[in-house]
Symmetry: C3
Subunit: 246 residues, 3 copies
Amino acid sequence: MFEAKLTDAKVFKDCVDAIVTLIDEGEFSATKEGITLRAMDPSQIAMVDFELPRKAFEKYELKGDLKIGLNLADLSRIMSRVRAGESLTLKLDDSASRLLLIFKGKSTRRFNLPLIDVPASATKVPSIDFDAEIKISGGVLKESLKDASLVSSHVTLLADGKGFEIRARGDKEAVVEFSKDVLLEHTVNKEAKAMFPLEYLNDLLKAVDSNGIVVLNLKTDAPLKVDYRIADARVTYYLAPRIEAA
Amino acid sequence: MFEAKLTDAKVFKDCVDAIVTLIDEGEFSATKEGITLRAMDPSQIAMVDFELPRKAFEKYELKGDLKIGLNLADLSRIMSRVRAGESLTLKLDDSASRLLLIFKGKSTRRFNLPLIDVPASATKVPSIDFDAEIKISGGVLKESLKDASLVSSHVTLLADGKGFEIRARGDKEAVVEFSKDVLLEHTVNKEAKAMFPLEYLNDLLKAVDSNGIVVLNLKTDAPLKVDYRIADARVTYYLAPRIEAA
Amino acid sequence: MFEAKLTDAKVFKDCVDAIVTLIDEGEFSATKEGITLRAMDPSQIAMVDFELPRKAFEKYELKGDLKIGLNLADLSRIMSRVRAGESLTLKLDDSASRLLLIFKGKSTRRFNLPLIDVPASATKVPSIDFDAEIKISGGVLKESLKDASLVSSHVTLLADGKGFEIRARGDKEAVVEFSKDVLLEHTVNKEAKAMFPLEYLNDLLKAVDSNGIVVLNLKTDAPLKVDYRIADARVTYYLAPRIEAA
């Protein structure tokens, strides 16, 4: 038995967008703390660690712990139909074989989709002692990655005492420099520099609002940690670096 | 001899859009009552019955009755070039072999296209004793059909004493419910329920403005009648139901 | 040694757009008078003659004359990343083998791209004694060419004492008439009429702002001259007519 209501259906849309950018099928865990999902993308290069806490819900009823495996691409298409001002109720049907989604606004719109089995994967969050933390506007970061994409399919992120840089090098070169005073926050214990595939970086940031704030954690040649919030929800990604042959 | 002038060329653009959504070639009839066109779409699933009455015109001159067969796709492309504030004069050339279109605004723009022979088809409007009539905003109806299209290529429309529902069922399900108080009008003598192909429903509504008002007439397993107005013009469609094997 | 700074990087974006519409690779000449480029398009149907004078620059330092050959398609992609309020510094690196572009706004963005060899072409500007000059809004002209493109891939431009006409004829026909009082300027010594390929005309006008002003110079069956300004820069195109067999 599971029934949970969000006052603003749009929040759940943004959450699903943040997950579906990496995986097409996934399994939510519902416990008395709230709803979580953790998964690697199929190529094992990026991980998403998602949490929508109980306090985010207007109503939250659950008996025992639940696993809710879904085709997230289908769920995302349904969520894309959300309209301003609608609430959303998530509910398992009596046989616990389908998830019901009830949007309430001027009209009532009900969708349901079948639960699916998602192969379990014991995914551990990497424990990294990062050297630099950068807080930056999502819009600014996304635009800078577009600059870099003119030049290469990979990008080097570098944080040092002076600020933060995004570099790409091919036949042409692009460098975007942020001095520390234009960043929202800049905490650097030690210079940190690592290279990442642009395609993945773009995917991780796809669901971030232009006005959203992104926190980047860096360590030389270590995975990048990307954090951002969607109302009460937390989304964390880890992205493996590309280690270049010396 | 035929010459007719519309103060607002945009009205004729919307009329042509409403027809071309079903047929690529068609024959207008011009009589002293105005201009009409009636035709089945090539697959014989939908019919359009169109009327632009004489009173819609600022000027309307005609000797005898006329048939004006046109490539409507070409006509629609010309009409798509209309600009705000332009008037439109429709005119047959002296040999009655070409239709002239004269748009007048800041500049004068003249187009002409050849008349064509369109095979005659004795198309009769079906006479149906409908059980339910629903008046609904074009924008709301179109959005609801998008909801349904996530789930199936067919949609069931259902009107009963409580209101109006749009349902689609596949692997997933979608239901949009309108209680009768959110509808513009709701007259139901008897529950009416029928299934229609979404692609056709979308075509019929393509030329309807978001703010436009659509009248639906329903009867169980009978054709759907869809009516709307474009200024003084009237557009009526009939769409065959899909009868499911029991 | 070359270093030149524009207060508004957007101006150089518009200049590059005006050139790249005809040629993918090109060679700028930098002299103490400013920067120029003259080239034929690969099919030898159109010519661009471009000039950005020294006074357009906030800073302009140069030793001797320089040729700067570039992949303009790459340059255009970099310029497309310009943001409002940015300045642009153009600079050759120490080995004079790469062009540096430095955009300064909130962040500093640096790009560089290699110089390339562009085969020299002694391109002379045609000397024509035109019969008619028409000044018209870029937006109005572009819209009229869209009208014509419904009907043909070629368009006839005609200027006479009454005004200016754009005509296209195929299976259908389109004529756009401007009486001389709706034109910004109209100077006609003698009727002038010539036919041009629409695709090229559209290319020449691609970088023109809707609010921009275009000057057309016409002579019967002679090349068309198209002029417009981008801030202090001047762009002139010549387009060969299509001479029809009599």
